[in-house]
Amino acid sequence: MKPVALKTFIYEAADIYLFAIRFFREVFRPRYEISELLKQCYYIGNTSLPLVTVTALIMGLVITIQSHPAMEAFGTESWLPSVVSVSLVREIVPVITALTCAGKIGSSMGAELGSMKVTEQIDSMEVSGTNPFKYLVVTRVLAATLMLPLLIILSDTISLYGAYIGVNINQIISFHLFANQVFIKLSFGDVLPSIIKGFFFGFAIGIIGCYKGWNTTDGTAGVGKSANSAVVISIFAVFIIDLLAAQIADILHIT
């Protein structure tokens, strides 16, 4: 990394940190924008639902189909539901859901706030007696933080159903037996970290998307750049959080 790029990266990271600090300062202060928060929760949850659901179903199906030959070769085919479900719930589904949302929500926040910034709509809100940071940023970040874990729980369920379909391609197995094999291995310690990770993923996606939109410059060309960099940085943040979460779970023996 060139020194200038490194300097830009450090400055940007510091700016995002300060933006997040401002979020925590504003979030507990009245006036509470409940109706806008609910609107954003509905928007984030509802619009991400089809994409997240289909992605989770495909992931469950594909991972099972891909794992089947290897497990068959080792004679551990009967472990397939247990092994696949653990890897799906612990790692694959939370990360894939977060990445899908980074693309869907992060870009939307970056572009929406960016265009509001360059067309003076944010200034207009300020003049209209509204704290635009609270109305636009706090509600979006909170909505993303709250909705991501819910989307992950839903995706986990859908992906397990995908895995069930995958198992049934090669052998006939009842759903009851499949569920039984899944829950022999899958424990609360597998589900909980993935849900907790969801809060952090949602927060990171929300903060980065809003930060990029809020700091848009260079007119309409800047809006595209903001949307694009919001996605890129959010994806990067998701992987960093996932890495940290894996380390922390390992240290705390949450396995």
Binding site: Q121, E126, V127, S128, G129, T130, N131
Partner: protein, 250 residues
């Protein structure tokens, strides 16, 4: 031709020794202006001379480096957020880009300032205010449309209607005719005068459109090098034999 403007304590808008710079670029340098109740003051100047910065400082969207801005006798820079919002409720601001909220209908756009300024209105009262504001600009049939469905001139009128909805005592116009054809620009200028007469508002109009200045202004201020270079009526300034002033009127 540097004109001294005396500090007028009866003014509704008092700007004294205002300084604003961006890095080493000094945009406003000891700018002083007093606007009395009922005046329509047009501020003209070259692009980048700090006209928009000036009205953004007045409404508190930008913080000046030094100097004072008083609206209704209250120093804007010393007000708490709540107190500033109360002052802002009495000041309308027409943005250069109109700043209509794309995701809302025209009705929601107009209702937004009413809801946000904690003005207790019944639904019926709010509906009446929206209709009244739209009637003033002649666009009542657009009430359920989105801003993207309107032409540039219509959007400007809707933005003006939203500015009017709180019945402000002061209206700040940022380039009200920019991006409009001469005919629509003239219509907007005439509308500004009609509004001023009807609601007895005080206005600062930022413009580089002389035809707008001619129609709307009872006083013109030329902003140059961050200072008030000259001021007077349109006719007075037109007669001034100063090359820097003349370039605006040629």
């Amino acid at each position: 031709m540097m004109k001294d403007i005396k500090y007028d304590t009866n003014a509704i808008i008092e700007i004294k020794d205002l300084k604003k710079s961006f890095g080493t670029n000094v945009v406003l340098n000891d700018f002083t202006l007093n606007v009395k109740e009922g005046d329509n003051v047009v501020v003209i100047g070259k692009s980048g001379s700090g006209k928009s910065v000036l009205i953004k400082c007045i409404i508190g969207l930008m913080t000046p480096n030094s100097g004072t801005i008083k609206l209704f006798g209250e120093d804007v820079s010393k007000l708490s957020r709540q107190a500033l919002d109360k002052v802002r409720a009495k000041v309308g601001f027409l943005f250069q880009s109109n700043a209509l909220y794309d995701s809302m209908t025209i009705r929601e756009n107009l209702e937004f300032p009413l809801r946000r300024h904690w003005i207790q209105n019944t639904k019926e009262k709010m509906k009446d205010l929206v209709i009244e504001a739209l009637t003033n600009v002649g666009l009542t049939d657009t009430i359920n449309m989105k801003p993207s469905e309107l032409s540039g001139g219509m959007r400007k009128r809707i933005a003006l209607a939203r500015t009017l909805i709180l019945k402000p005592k002061i209206i700040l116009y940022d380039e009200p005719t920019s991006g409009l054809d001469p005919v629509t620009g003239k219509e907007i200028s005439t509308l500004i005068v009609e509004i001023q007469k009807k609601y007895k508002t005080t206005s600062i109009i930022i413009s580089h459109d002389l035809s707008c200045a001619k129609i709307t202004a009872n006083k013109i201020v030329i902003l140059m090098n961050g200072k008030c270079y000259a001021s007077g009526t349109f006719e007075e300034l037109k007669m001034v034999n100063d090359i820097k002033v003349k370039q605006f009127f040629d």
